[in-house]
Structure formats: C-alpha cells, structure tokens
C-alpha cells in the first residue's frame, strides 16, 4: 500500500531500504525528520553528532570502512561540514556515502537563503534533486548505488517544500547490503599533497564521465512545443501547473549537469526559460554552453521561494483573482495583525531576556528558540550570525573596545556607554561550536561573560537529545557532558549555575559576572516547558481587586497575560502553564494560584 510520507521520511525510508548502516546528523530545519525517522527503524545505527562537521566525518569513516553511510543537515550545516566534504570528494568512498542537505528558500526557519548547489559545483560532488516524496525515496536509494559506482560522495539536495510536503510513496523492504571489504589504500584515503594531486585528476575525469550519467536522470514532458522550460526539484511541480502545454526538461541530477540533453532540448524549442529558485545556477550553465537565448532570472526573482503564482505573475503578468470582502465590511485582509513566533508561556529563556533587557546590556546572540529574545518586548539581542558565533563575537567586541579605549587614553570608561557585553547560547549550540569560542576567550585573555541557556534539550528543531542531556537519539542512557566541568576544564574559573526564574538572584549574578575582570560563565538552567515531565500545575490567577493596572507583569511578554478593557490584567487560563514566573513581578500580591480557601496564595 502507498503511504503518505514527508519528503524527509521518504529519504529515510529510501536510505533504509538501500541498506544504510550508519547515519550521523545534527538537527536543523528542514532536515531533522530524516534522521528521526531512521532512528525508529531497525538494523541501522543512528546518532545525533555534536555538529555537522563531526557527523560528516563519522559518515566518511563509515563509508571508507566499507559501510553505507549518510549524514543529514540543513543548508547552513553544510558550511560547517564543507571542510570534510571537499576532501572526501578527492578520497572517494568504499561503501556508498550520501549527504542529505536541505535548503530553505524563503527562510522559513533559517538565518540565510544560501544555495547549496554551488557546493556540488565547487567540491565536484554529484548532486541529485528530487521533486516529491516518491522521488525522495527513489533518489535516496539510487544515491548509494551511484556513490559506489563512481567512487564519490553524493549530495541529495532537498528544499523546505520537498522535505515538508507529504505525497504518496510505494515503500519496499530493506535490502541487506553486506559491508564492502576494507583494504588499506594510502594513496586513496590519506590526502597529503602528493596523493591529493593524483586524486584531483581522477575527480576531473569523474566529472566528465558523470555528465553522461546526468543524461539518464532527465525527464522530458511534451516534446516539440514552442516554449521549453528547464527546471528541477520543487519548481518542476510549479511548472507543470503554470505551463501545462510547454515542453519541460526536468533535471534529476543537477551536478554534473546533462550537457547533451540540455543542448538537444534547447535546439528543439523556440523559446527557452529556466525556472529555478535562488541563484541562476542552471541558467548560467546553459549560457555557458553558448545558448544565448535562454532566460530565467529576467523573469523569476532570486529572492526567496517561487510558487505557481509568483511564476505566473512574473512570466505572464497576470494575477489570480481571490475572494473579496464586501465593501460594507470595513475590513481588509491586511487588517489581520501580524502573528510572529513568540517564546512559549513558561519558557525559561524569558527570565534571561527580561533581565538582559532591564540591564540594557549589549548581547551577542546565537541560533535557537532564544533568538526570539531579539523580538519585542525584550529586544535584548544585538547580533546573531550563525551557530556558535555569539561567543567569538562578544570577545571581538570587547577587544575592539579595549584597543579603542587604550588609544584614546579613556581608562575604563566604555566608549559606547554600554555597560558590558554578554554572549547567550543554548546548551546544544554551545556543544555544537560554542566551546571553541570559549577556549579562545580563555587563551587570549578575554573577560567576556557567557550565559549558557541550558533547557536540557535541543528546543527549536523539536526536542532532539544532545550530548548534555544524558540520552541518545534512541533514548538510551548515556554519559551527559557536565557543562560546569567542561567550562572549568578549559580554564574558566568563574562558572555558576543559576535559575533564570529567580529574577533577583539572576540579575545579581549577571551584574557580578560582567564586572569580573576575567572570563565567566553563567549556566541558566531550567528545562524547556514543553518537555515531558515538566508540570507546573494549575494556572495562576490575577485578583482583580488587588490589580492596580501598573502593567509590570505585561513587561514579561508572556502570551498568557492579557489586558482587559478596564485596564486590569488577566490570565488566559488556556495558555498559562502555571510556572508562576510572573508572581514576582507584582508588587501588590495580585498574582497567584488559588488555594483551597479561595484566596490567592
């Protein structure tokens, strides 16, 4: 029977059926469900690695050893794993090796909109791009065969709309693939200059041969029409709807590109367009082949994702009619107030960001739920670039400050009038790439304060275990990294654990540590409110008689606290988690939980 699978689930299923032995990944939207799905299937080893670089290296080792291996990551994760990828391309494989990489056109859950296809081009690694779940399943399976046949890692490129759409898939059984025998081969697997130069020539030849292979991955719809469209991935689905009568050349392998098929197709049509999201990757290649009449980005924006309407409007200039409100309604769709994501009611990060906003500190931030600390009402973040960057950035800001101060003869006065800089980073992100930044601060005599937001889980991507939680991906008990010991071991003397919900104490701790003239770490520890086992009991209530309408509780930005029409505050019982964080904000004792007697406690 056909199953309705997410693209990510279909990739997992395809890899499993291909007999994959080892899967190592770091979670990242929109790629996370691939590894989560595999971890629920038997006979395959799965792990969450500390970061994408390690996950790639584990997979490379498994493949050189003769097993079939896969590592999965989001587009920015491939930046982290790029170092091993580029050289693994030279060394080749033994057992099949697949990198599943999910781009996020339109930045649904990312900090940039990069186009991973250029990694395939510059690392000379074949790249496949499925357009629905059935192809995710098929391409994942074939990727392992391709990898072994051509002795190369293979990248399976996904995008959000392929990863997170469900469509029917005919699933099969697991094919038990014996591990390939391992033979020591220094010339192939030890990449020193002498060996790498020889491998470089082999990679060039592989590229040439695989251009022919790419011809086997094309699909031609409606041959012989006037308008020809070259496309791949999710855009193929949009093209089928917008240009139902056009000739369409759909590419399944997008590196190397199929030179012969593209030339023949171009010659068979009168008008040629390329429909692709993000950069003009295919279009540039077509031009490079001397096909000057091709158009693509002239019509279709390189920004964000495309869709049927964007493509239709860009090419035909027509707009699809939509339902309309009556004139008398006095309402327009734009009147719907924005609904940005917010920290959940009961979120432990709220304590940290409320404190930082009160202290008006300069805050370098990082990637996770807590990036929402940059949003109103806290606005307590000054910069956020990539995983782990918060710690390096705070060190850099402080060093720039101290040089400027010394040169100006300004003594200890902060030239920007800012009280101090702190770095905030989550537990999983700290392990991912924050720890090296902390080593740097200690080594180079910095004095930054780092706040590790330890909520006992990888939150934003949907609760994955990590090295600090004491559980593996399959929920087996394992040794948890002790963050306090780790920070002390690299040379931080001032390490303290604080509860971010104890506002007074937490504020005092931050003030003390930013004044210290040496590196310091505050571990703000309280579990994510969405974790199983976190139960704060019944909701709090606001005693209307005691409420003086001061609005102090509203400053926390908790979605469960609302202002009523008479100006008093009230609690939305359906949202309140009962965490009681807001109780300490009220100077009039108006907030509390009802006790048996009926009074607020």
């Amino acid at each position: 029977m056909k199953e309705l699978l997410l693209g990510n689930e279909a990739v997992a299923r395809g890899a499993w059926e291909a007999g994959v032995h080892v899967v190592s990944s770091y979670p990242g939207t929109p790629s996370t469900e691939i590894t989560e799905t595999l971890a629920k299937l038997s006979s395959v080893y799965c792990e969450w690695s500390p970061n994408e670089k390690v996950s790639a290296e584990v997979a490379i080792g498994a493949a050189i050893g003769g097993g079939r291996a896969m590592c999965c990551m989001k587009h920015v994760g491939l930046n982290v794993a790029a170092d091993p990828l580029f050289t693994a391309s030279y060394a080749g494989v033994n057992g099949g090796l697949v990198f599943a990489v999910a781009d996020d056109p339109g930045l649904f859950s990312s900090q940039n909109d990069q186009d991973s296809r250029f990694y395939a081009l510059s690392a000379h690694v074949p790249m496949l791009e499925p357009s629905d779940s059935a192809e995710c399943h098929e391409f994942a399976k074939k990727a392992f065969e391709l990898s072994e046949k051509y002795d190369t890692p293979v990248i399976l490129r996904l995008t959000t709309r392929v990863s997170h759409s469900r469509s029917p898939v005919e699933v099969g059984e697991r094919n038990v693939v014996p591990k390939k025998p391992y033979k020591k081969d220094i010339q192939k697997y030890v990449m020193m200059p002498g060996m790498a130069k020889k491998r470089q020539a082999i990679v060039k030849e592989r590229d040439r041969v695989m251009t022919g292979e790419a011809d086997a991955w094309v699909k031609l719809d409606n041959p012989g029409r006037k308008l020809g469209v070259i496309t791949s991935g999710i855009c193929y689905q949009y093209v089928r709807e917008v240009f139902p009568d056009a000739s369409v050349l759909k590419l399944g392998m997008i590196y190397p590109l199929p030179e012969r098929s593209i030339k023949e197709f171009a010659a068979s049509v009168e008008e040629l367009i390329v429909v692709e999201e993000l950069e003009p990757y295919i279009e540039n290649y077509v031009r490079q082949l001397g096909i000057a009449y091709v158009e693509g980005k002239k019509y279709f924006t390189p920004l964000g994702e495309l869709g049927t309407e964007k493509i239709r409007q860009s090419y035909y200039g027509t707009k699809t009619p939509v339902a309309e409100l009556s004139e008398g309604s006095g309402l327009k769709p734009e009147d719907a107030p924005m609904r940005p994501p917010t920290m959940c009611p009961g979120c432990p990060h709220r304590g940290v960001f409320y404190t930082l906003s009160q202290l008006k500190l300069r805050v370098t931030g990082d990637i996770g739920c807590y990036t929402l600390g940059a949003a109103a009402p806290y606005k307590a973040m000054d910069a956020c670039i990539c995983m782990g960057a918060s710690i390096g950035m705070s060190h850099g800001m402080e060093k720039a400050e101290s040089v400027a101060r010394a040169e100006a003869g300004a003594g200890d006065n902060d030239s920007d009038g800012i009280r101090g800089t702190v770095a905030v980073i989550g537990d999983s992100t700290f392990i991912h790439s924050g720890i090296t930044g902390l080593v740097n601060i200690v080594y180079n005599k910095g004095a930054s304060t780092v706040i590790i937001l330890d909520n006992s889980i990888t939150g934003m991507t949907g609760h994955q275990q990590n090295p600090t939680t004491g559980k593996t991906i399959r929920m087996e008990d394992t040794y948890p990294v002790d963050l306090t010991l780790l920070c002390k071991a690299v040379g931080v003397n001032r390490v303290r654990v604080e509860d971010p919900f104890d506002l007074k104490k937490f504020k005092a701790a931050v003030l003390e540590e930013i004044d210290a003239n040496e590196p310091s770490v505050i571990i703000a520890r309280r579990p994510c409110v969405l974790l199983k086992g976190v139960n704060y009991g019944k909701p709090v209530e606001i005693d209307g008689d005691k409420c003086r309408k001061c609005g102090a509780c509203m400053r926390l930005g908790c979605p469960a606290i609302l202002k009523t029409e008479d100006g008093r505050m009230k609690i939305d019982r359906s949202l309140c988690t009962g965490c009681e964080f807001c109780v300490q904000m009220c100077g009039f004792g108006a907030i509390g939980k009802k006790t048996e007697g009926g009074d607020n406690k």
Partner: protein, 195 residues
C-alpha cells in the same frame, strides 16, 4: 468546486493541532484512491506563530502548495487567521472558521489592534462563511485540544461525495487509541453543528 479537485488551506496558531488535521485529510484522500499532496510547516513558526498547511486532492496533483486564489476551502482555527488567509480563497469558496480569538503578541503589547467582529464582517463577501465556536464544542466533548477534529467534522458535512465511513476510518488511523473516544465525539458534534 470542481469535482476532481479539492484544495483545502488550514490555518491556525502554532500548537493548535493543524498538522494532525492535514494528515487526517491526507489519509482520507489515500483511502479514496486519489492523488494527494500535503504541505506542512515545521520549526520557527510553530512557536505561537501563524501556521498554514495545505491539502490538495485530485487526480494528479503537482504543486503541494495552495497559492493565491487557489483554495476551495479555508479551514481556520482562529478568528483573525481566517481574514489573513482570504488571499488564498477562490471567489465563491468557503471559509469554515472557529470564532475563538487568540491575541498575537503585537496586540497584547499594544503595537497592533485585533479587529472587532471578524466573523460577522467576513460574511457579505463573494464567498461562503461558516463560523462556529469550535472551542466550546470541543470542551463539551471533553478536551479543548479537539478543536481540530470538531472543525474536521464540520468540513466533512460541508464537502460532498465522501462516505462517512471513510472519514471515520481515517479518524481511527490518525488519532492515538487512548484519545479516540473523545475525538469521535468531537467529530460527530462537528457534523451536528454544521447542520
């Protein structure tokens, strides 16, 4: 709506159970032997943000996304979200909406205004509006979390041509066994409310 094609856009607030609703509809389509694509939203926007999922059922569905003016039905879990989703609705389409209001953070903080009487003001446009207090119905059935299934019950009564048994089988396959009784009640109450 065309006999062979049905586009349903589901919109709600992160945490309201829109994902289960879209999987439910996907399962219904598979049981009918139709082609189907469902697009979901994961990650950042699930944290209390506005969440859209699309279900497209037909003979041969290409894009998984319901774009501007493509939806036959907008199934809205929250009042103002129905307004937000109007640009996806075809002229002559149907809005099925829960009248519950969940205030967005910019409204709570005073930076934006939540419009009054959204359900009443929606009616009168060139589309049909079915507005019900699905939260109260769900609470009566035993769990506020069943809002999604109440709305699906309403939907099942509104779209023609699908046997009640298919809906019930799908409900059993997507809802965990221990929650099935409550959800069955919620589904049946949804059907009744639509009448």
């Amino acid at each position: 709506m065309k006999q062979d094609e049905l586009n349903i856009l589901i919109i709600g607030v992160g945490g309201q159970g829109t994902l289960l609703a879209s999987r439910f509809l996907g399962d219904v389509a598979l049981r009918l032997g139709r082609d189907v694509k469902v697009s979901e939203v994961h990650g950042m926007s699930q944290r209390g943000g506005s969440v859209e999922t699309c279900v497209r059922i037909g003979e041969n569905v290409a894009s998984p996304i319901i774009d501007r003016g493509m939806a036959d039905v907008v199934l809205s879990f929250e009042s103002v979200e129905a307004l937000r989703a109007l640009e996806y609705l075809k002229p002559g389409g149907t809005v099925i909406m829960n009248t519950q209001e969940i205030l967005p953070m910019p409204v709570i903080s005073g930076a934006a205004v939540y419009p009054d009487n959204v359900p009443e003001r929606l009616s009168g446009g060139n589309f049909r509006v079915i507005a019900l207090d699905a939260l109260s119905i769900a609470e009566k059935c035993g769990s506020a979390k069943c809002v999604n299934v109440v709305l699906l019950g309403i939907l099942s009564a509104v779209i023609p041509g699908i046997a009640p048994d298919v809906w019930r089988q799908s409900l059993e396959s997507v809802v965990p066994a221990k929650l099935l009784e409550t959800n069955r009640r919620a589904f049946e109450e949804g059907i009744k409310a639509a009448e």
